[in-house]
């Protein structure tokens, strides 16, 4: 039963991801898409947690961490790109 619950959870996550992906494709604005991608990242974190429970291995715990961190970095980069165009400045004015 537990496995069924986990699989269901995973399935639901999958749908959630699919819905978010729709937002990426549909937009309309770029920030919309970034929001959706960020959300996908976070939901993948959860999904991988469930997968590792299902597979019974701790091997993916690093993946979870790394995904959480790098989705964040991605989002920062995208936001900064939208806001300023340049994402790495030589010298910041503030």
């Amino acid at each position: 039963m537990i496995e069924a619950m986990l699989l269901t959870a995973l399935f639901i996550y999958g749908i959630a991801i699919a819905i978010s992906a729709y937002r990426i494709i549909a937009g309309p604005s770029l920030p919309d898409r970034v929001v959706a991608l960020d959300m996908i990242g976070v939901m993948l974190v959860s999904s991988i947690a469930i997968i590792s429970v299902l597979q019974g291995t701790k091997a993916y715990l690093e993946v979870i961490l790394i995904l959480a961190i790098l989705a964040f970095i991605s989002t920062i980069a995208f936001s900064k790109y939208i806001e300023r165009g340049v994402i790495i400045e030589r010298k910041r004015d503030n």
Binding site: L7, Y13, I24, S47, Y60, S74, A77
Partner: protein
């Protein structure tokens, strides 16, 4: 090391020495040194005459590439000797002549280097037993000829002439090379003597005829046989001594030598007979016919040479029939044609050499060779005239000059061969004497033109560069000697015959008894001989045609210039370049998309074609692992995201979608039990995204692709096909695994490499080398990026760029 090999190499060494010597010694004409070389060699070869006449032959081998049986074997027999003597003898005379002909302002060092280089190469051709080495020297003669023709390389005509001769002779040489290789394949040896000893044993081989044809291609191009003769008139751009030496006396005889040399192997074959005889006669006719219309003395001599070479060639062809009858007395009759060929070979060298020198003298003294500007020189240049007359009359076949003798023998040959009853000669045989006779008439005509047009008639000083007078004595010595030979041979032909020609015959017909090969030469065959009447006919008709030549000159207009082989040559080269440019430009568009289309088309056609041809596609999903709903959704999301990239209106959207793909792949790595990969993929994906964003700041936003619908459809079809091919093979592989993977071994990574993470152990230990190199790849990319960004072109560099 035998002196024979040294004799071949000697001129080469001298050729190398000359430039140095030339720089050191300025006072003495460097030609004297070259002449000494040539003369020494002449004496050297002359000393062989008695022993060769006794039937001896000489051979010596120096190893060159023994692994492939290619060795430098020098072989001297009668046939080689005849040419060696011509090469060195005429060489000596030509150099002597050139010393006075060429002013010391010319680059004499270069000239004599080339000339001696040629002499060595030519000796190599006639003295080599190994056909590969023969080929080596063969090409060297083409090259030296090329260099000599373009001696005045500033002139466009010289360059064009040189180019033409090189292209034609070297191309022919390439064909001949293939022929040689075929011979080797048939016989297993490169040695001519060994091949000859096997003659007859491989005539049924499939390569026999191709080898023969290719060999003849080489011979015909080199000896300026129709239709390859076109290079020879243009080669007249060379300084006159060169024309006299290479393009009449020696190099052009290399092809004839080759035919003679290979007669024992191919002679007796009907194709050989008809090709050699037919092409020879055709050349004879066409050369003499064309010579008449020339207005440039040298061009006239060039066509005359073509014609004469054709005559010699045809005689060798006729003579080859002898081998059809094997070792019988019947065959001896036909060998006389070969004898005549050899005889004329020598004769031609004497009278044509003299004539070229005369033309050179005229050109040198009055500054023109144009027949329309010449005339009346007889009183001003009597000695020159005498030599010219001797040469021309000999060429025309008049007594008491050597040309008469060989011409008579030629008539004999064409007359008798019709009776042989082989090679369909009974039907076509009568044509031979007719062509020979007609050609002789034209020969007579241009010979007369040379004498009368130049030396008689009104003297037009105003149309000459310099007033006419006799040249320095030195210039007359060489042609004078040749003229004396012309007469001397007429009176004592059998000295030549017995000591030189007969031994050469033994080289050509090694299977026939030596005693039967010598032919007594006589000037008088009696009134009943057909040959005499033919000669008389030639003189009568010749004179008539000479006198009326303005009336029938229109004949030449019947063949428009553009139908000539010459125009064909220029036209093809021009069109070749033009079409090449069009063709190459048509597909080398410089547009990446086009190139990618070619590549993908290749991918689809070659691989897809093989799939269909082998019928290999197979799908078997029974071994598949299960698919959970999550995975289905993930796949769908990725597919949709992937396709959406194509429609993304902004590049940022595209990158976001690509991120989905990246994360998706990472998730699949998790699902497929690959934590290391998932980690790497996630980080690399993010860093790549950052990189894209960094670069985007500097790049323009992507606009909608304004591609024509047609090429969009092409792109779509290609993309889908590539995807299909890719997928079909992958699926087939999955259902057709043949072996267990070796990776079971790595499962013991802890015991073997002390690591529990198998992937890491593979990367860090089992396949650490890959990892090490991968680090290098990264490093290259890193510093590469730095270098590419930091190193910018200066503006002035760009200007040359955009040509």
């Amino acid at each position: 090391m035998s002196t024979l090999n040294i004799a071949i190499i000697f001129p080469f060494i001298a050729a190398i020495v000359i430039p140095f010597l030339y720089n050191k010694i300025r006072k003495l004409h460097i030609g004297w040194f070259a002449m000494l070389v040539s003369f020494v060699l002449f004496i050297y070869f002359a000393r062989y005459v008695p022993r060769i006449a006794n039937g001896e032959t000489f051979a010596n081998t120096i190893n060159w590439i023994p692994s492939y049986g290619i060795n430098f074997t020098a072989y001297l027999d009668g046939l080689s000797l005849i040419l060696a003597l011509l090469i060195t003898g005429v060489g000596t005379l030509v150099i002597l002549y050139s010393i006075f002909y060429l002013s010391s302002k010319e680059s004499l060092g270069r000239f004599y280097t080339y000339l001696l280089f040629f002499m060595g190469a030519m000796l190599g051709v006639v003295l080599s037993d190994n056909i590969m080495v023969l080929y080596v020297f063969w090409e060297l003669t083409s090259i030296s000829s090329f260099l000599l023709i373009a001696f005045w390389y500033q002139r466009k005509r010289s360059r064009d002439g040189a180019k033409k001769s090189l292209l034609i002779t070297v191309s022919g040489g390439f064909g001949m090379l293939i022929g040689f290789i075929m011979l080797y394949i048939m016989t297993g040896t490169w040695s001519i003597r060994e091949i000859i000893s096997m003659a007859g044993s491989f005539t049924d081989h499939a390569l026999f005829i191709p080898a023969m044809l290719l060999l003849l291609l080489g011979a015909f191009t080199k000896s300026a046989q129709f239709p390859f003769h076109i290079w020879l008139p243009d080669a007249m751009e060379a300084p006159t001594p060169v024309s006299a030496y290479l393009h009449s006396a020696t190099m052009v005889k290399a092809g004839i030598y080759l035919v003679a040399r290979f007669t024992p192997i191919f002679g007796g074959e009907s194709i050989w007979f008809w090709l050699v005889t037919g092409v020879g006669l055709l050349t004879l006719f066409w050369g003499s016919f064309s010579a008449v219309r020339q207005t440039d003395l040298k061009a006239m001599l060039a066509y005359s040479t073509v014609s004469q070479l054709g005559m010699i060639m045809s005689m060798f062809g006729i003579g080859s029939a002898a081998l059809h009858f094997g070792n019988s007395t019947v065959s001896v009759v036909y060998t006389q044609a070969t004898f005549a060929a050899l005889f004329h070979l020598v004769n031609h060298s004497t009278f044509k050499g003299a004539l070229f020198m005369v033309v050179g003298i005229v050109d040198h003294e009055v500054g023109t060779r144009d027949l329309r500007r010449l005339g009346g020189l007889v009183t001003l240049m009597p000695i020159t005239f005498t030599i010219a007359m001797i040469g021309s009359f000999s060429m025309a076949g008049l007594p008491p000059f050597n040309g008469f003798l060989s011409k008579e023998m030629f008539f004999t040959a064409v007359l008798t061969i019709g009776e042989a009853g082989i090679f369909s000669l009974d039907t076509w045989g009568t044509l031979l004497p007719v062509i020979a006779w007609v050609a002789s008439i034209f020969t007579f005509v241009y010979s007369m033109i040379i004498v009368f047009q130049t030396f008689f008639g009104p003297y037009k000083e105003e149309r000459l560069e310099h007033p006419a007078h006799e040249p320095p004595v030195g210039m007359l010595i060489a042609p004078g000697i040749l003229a004396l030979l012309v007469i001397g041979i007429f009176f004592f032909p059998n000295v030549l015959g017995d000591y030189i020609l007969t031994p050469a015959m033994m080289g050509i017909f090694p299977s026939l008894p030596a005693a039967d090969l010598s032919v007594p030469i006589s000037a008088w065959h009696g009134f009943r001989s057909m040959e005499l009447w033919m000669t008389i006919g030639v003189i009568i008709f010749g004179f008539a045609l000479y006198k009326t030549r303005k009336k029938w000159a229109f004949v030449y207009k019947l063949f428009p210039e553009k139908w000539s082989f010459n125009s064909f040559y220029s036209y093809s080269l021009e069109k070749l370049e033009e079409h090449s440019t069009t063709i190459t430009n048509s597909y080398m568009t410089g547009y990446l998309r086009d190139y990618m289309v070619y590549i993908y088309l290749f991918f689809i056609v070659a691989i897809g074609g093989t799939i269909i041809y082998t019928g290999v596609y197979a799908f078997d999903i029974s071994g598949n692992s299960s698919v959970s709903e999550f995975e289905w959704i993930l796949v769908l999301v990725m597919i949709i995201a992937g396709i959406s990239v194509l429609f993304a209106k902004s590049r940022l959207t595209a990158i976001l979608l690509n991120s989905i793909l990246g994360y998706g792949v990472a998730t699949f790595f998790v699902i497929f039990r690959a934590p290391d990969l998932a980690l790497t993929q996630i980080i690399v994906e993010t860093v790549t995204t950052v990189l894209f964003l960094v670069a985007y700041y500097f790049l323009p936003e992507w606009k909608k692709e304004d591609v024509p619908r047609k090429s969009r459809n092409v792109n779509l079809i290609i993309s889908i096909s590539v995807g299909i091919v890719f997928t079909v093979i992958a699926l087939t592989v999955q259902s057709g695994k043949l072996f267990e993977s070796i990776s079971g071994y790595f499962e013991n990574s802890y015991e073997l490499a002390g690591g529990k993470n198998i992937v890491n152990s593979i990367l860090g230990d089992f396949r650490a080398f890959d990892t090490m190199l991968e680090v290098v790849v990264l490093l290259i990319a890193g510093i590469g990026v730095y270098s590419i960004i930091k190193l910018k072109a200066k503006k002035e560099d760009e200007s040359v760029e955009d040509q």
